[in-house]
């Protein structure tokens, strides 16, 4: 194959099967050692917070994201823990804004 021993991490198999998105995901996921979903999640949450400044929107979209992908096989357990902390911080911030502000 083109990549030699690196076929599995280059995503060529997925590309030749006609799955460009899965091929790109495989490539990024191999380079980020399984942290792609977590990094996407964190970047998305940061961008959303910087743009909208709306914790409730952040929390709800985070819950949507996790309820879709959290138990999928391509996500790492350790990255779930990072997302857990992010969600807890957002929820605590929300309760603080609702109650104590």
């Amino acid at each position: 194959m083109v990549c030699g021993n690196l076929t599995a991490v280059c995503g060529w198999t997925e590309l030749f099967d006609g799955n460009p998105i899965l091929a790109a995901f495989t490539m990024y996921d191999a380079s980020m050692v399984g942290w792609t979903i977590a990094i996407l999640f964190i970047v998305y949450q940061m961008m959303l917070f910087m743009k909208a400044r709306n914790l409730a929107l952040n929390f709800i979209t985070g819950v949507f994201f996790l309820s879709l992908f959290a138990t999928a096989t391509f996500i790492k357990t350790i990255s779930l823990q990072v997302m857990f902390v992010i969600l807890v911080l957002e929820m605590a911030g929300l309760i603080y804004l609702w109650v104590a502000k």
């Binding site: 857990f84 902390v85 807890v88 605590a92 109650v99 104590a100």
Partner: protein, 153 residues
């Protein structure tokens, strides 16, 4: 509101939020089983944070126990005053023991989340230091409560 009191309130809300997220966030059923709790105690996705009722035992159990004066009461004249003094002191001590568990909850949260990823020497240094800083903040907050003016005024 003084910043340390905000921190106490935020710590309590962190506790509530942890329970809400652990029990409230479930799978949608697209890739997994619908209704499965993603962050429940037995999935191991909670950084070792376990949500149970035992944390309130110092408030619920120890506060209800009887306070006994230690030692003999040889001075019979002032016995009742000594008992009352010791009861008050014991009650204050128990409140202090219960509250200190909660006063540094924010540091413990940080410690249990990012602590395992740090070098043990650094973690053993940084978190007690943070607790000391927070403790100084609490002292300033208590000063504010007693005197009605900030320490820096």
């Amino acid at each position: 509101m003084n910043s340390v009191f905000r921190l106490i309130v935020f710590t309590i809300f962190l506790n509530i939020a942890t329970g809400l997220v652990m029990y409230g966030v479930t799978d949608s059923g697209v890739y997994g089983t619908k209704g499965t709790q993603i962050f429940s105690d037995n999935t191991g996705n909670t950084f070792g944070i376990v949500y149970n009722e035992s944390y309130t035992s110092t408030f619920v159990g120890d506060m209800n126990t009887t306070i006994n004066p230690t030692g003999d009461l040889e001075d019979r004249d002032n016995a009742i005053y000594r008992v009352l003094d010791k009861m008050n002191l014991g009650f204050l001590t128990r409140i202090k023991d219960a509250v200190t568990k909660y006063l540094f909850g924010f540091i413990q949260f940080i410690q249990s989340t990012i602590g395992p990823y740090m070098e043990p020497a650094l973690a053993n240094f940084i978190f007690p230091t943070l607790k000391t800083v927070i403790f100084i903040g609490y002292l300033l907050g208590v000063w504010l409560l007693f005197t009605g003016r900030a320490f820096s005024d």
